[in-house]
């Protein structure tokens, strides 16, 4: 922390002066550029990145207000979590995923859950379409519309218990690493994910592997598998839904 900022926190601790608060917001505002830049990855083109920044600034203000220097946590670490949470909460408040798409996604996930219970593995598109009384092409169109490629799309549905979210991306990326400081919950979540990944179709496993473990873009994964762009979105969405269903049990 440079000298100037340490002095600002000192003054803010003494008296909650609004002008000092504004200087702190200005100093840490670049963190919002980082978080909004990453939460914005994979969003539909209709989402305005400047809006993500303004939602993030709310989260930063909140973090400055609530930060307790005595707790020994670095402010940046605390702030990044709050900024990310604020952007996702605000996105949900403005219904960034249309309700019709959201309710359709829920129906598809309920059908996946039923079929996974029935057969102990991820359903094929044909089995899932039949369960939903849809044509396979209708199901695939619906899946192609639900790009699960952004942190917000993956993050928001995994509200567990008292509001703590399971970041699916981090958990998947960490699946292959054994973290020393892993919590019991994280270890349990990973075990569930491993159990489910082996029950996905061969192709779904490959998509998850290349996207989450090998860090490719969806377009690159599609190229490797030799499938069209909309097809790769569908396979990815269905694979992620199967994982989410497992985690929500």
């Amino acid at each position: 922390m440079d000298r100037e900022v340490r002095a600002l926190w000192g003054r803010y601790a003494d008296a909650r002066d609004p002008e000092v608060r504004e200087q702190l917001i200005l100093h840490y505002a670049p963190l919002v550029k980082y978080v909004a830049g990453r939460v914005g990855v994979g969003m539909p083109s209709s989402v305005d990145h400047a809006d993500l920044v303004s939602y993030g600034v709310f989260g930063l203000m909140d973090a400055i207000e609530k930060f307790d220097p005595g707790r020994g946590v670095k402010f940046e670490t605390y702030a990044v979590t709050r900024i990310r949470g604020s952007i996702i909460d605000e996105l949900r408040a403005v219904d960034w995923v249309p309700r019709s798409v959201r309710s359709q996604a829920r129906k598809i996930e309920a059908a996946i859950q039923h079929l996974v219970h029935l057969r102990g593995r991820s359903p094929t598109d044909e089995e899932l379409a039949e369960e939903l009384d849809l044509e396979v092409s209708e199901l695939q169109d619906a899946l192609a519309r639900m790009a699960m490629t952004s942190v917000a799309a993956l993050d928001e549905t995994l509200h567990v218990g008292d509001g703590d979210r399971i970041p699916l991306v981090e958990t998947l990326q960490d699946l292959t690493a054994v973290l020393p400081e892993e919590s019991v919950d994280d270890a349990a979540t990973k075990a569930l994910l491993r159990e489910m990944i082996v029950r996905l179709t061969e192709r779904e496993q490959m998509v998850l592997g290349l996207y989450y473990f090998e860090g490719m873009t969806l377009a690159q994964v599609g190229e490797v598998l030799g499938v069209t762009e909309s097809r790769i979105c569908q396979i990815h969405t269905k694979a992620v839904m199967a994982l989410r269903v497992k985690l929500l049990e």
């Binding site: 100037e4 990855v41 670490t77 981090e170 490959m206 473990f213 969806l218 490797v224």
Partner: protein, 154 residues
């Protein structure tokens, strides 16, 4: 496979730190540039700067495309600490005491130094991407011919 993955994980760990420090530094440079502009125009009002944050901090973003998406996580990487310390040193060396009292020439000088460091970080980042993408392509080749699979990761 293990060896290739480990080499790539090490590069990604470093890249996470460089990308974080780079984005935060870019934000800082852009804010200081707006402040310098306002200084020349004679006005200096913090509150309007805050109202303009979305425009300033999202300046280089264009509409995203889910197909170009990559799995990202949002955290403060440990590898960023060293870089952040170097950036703090540049700011401390500029010897400016607070936001309001900076002399315009000193501010312009600081911005130039930070912009030089940002170009250095962007260059480092490009090199890391090249290496990461090369190691990844090697692994993907092994996926294709069956020498690697998701199963061996679980």
């Amino acid at each position: 496979n293990e060896q290739v993955r480990r080499a790539r994980a090490e590069c990604e760990r470093e890249e996470a730190g460089v990308s974080y420090a780079r984005r935060v530094l870019q934000g800082r440079i852009d804010l200081l540039r707006v402040e310098l502009e306002r200084r020349h125009e004679g006005g200096h009002d913090l509150t309007t700067l805050l109202a303009d944050l979305p425009r300033i901090l999202a300046s280089d973003q264009y509409p995203s495309d889910p197909l170009q998406a990559r799995a990202v996580n949002v955290s403060v990487p440990e590898a960023a600490e060293v870089l952040e310390a170097e950036i703090d040193e540049i700011v401390d060396r500029a010897g400016l005491d607070d936001l309001g009292g900076r002399d315009a020439d000193d501010l312009a000088q600081l911005i130039e130094e930070l912009a030089t460091y940002e170009r250095y970080l962007s260059g480092l980042r490009r090199q890391l991407f090249e290496r990461i993408d090369m190691l990844r392509d090697e692994l993907v080749q092994r996926y294709k011919d069956g020498r690697a699979s998701v199963g061996d990761l679980l």
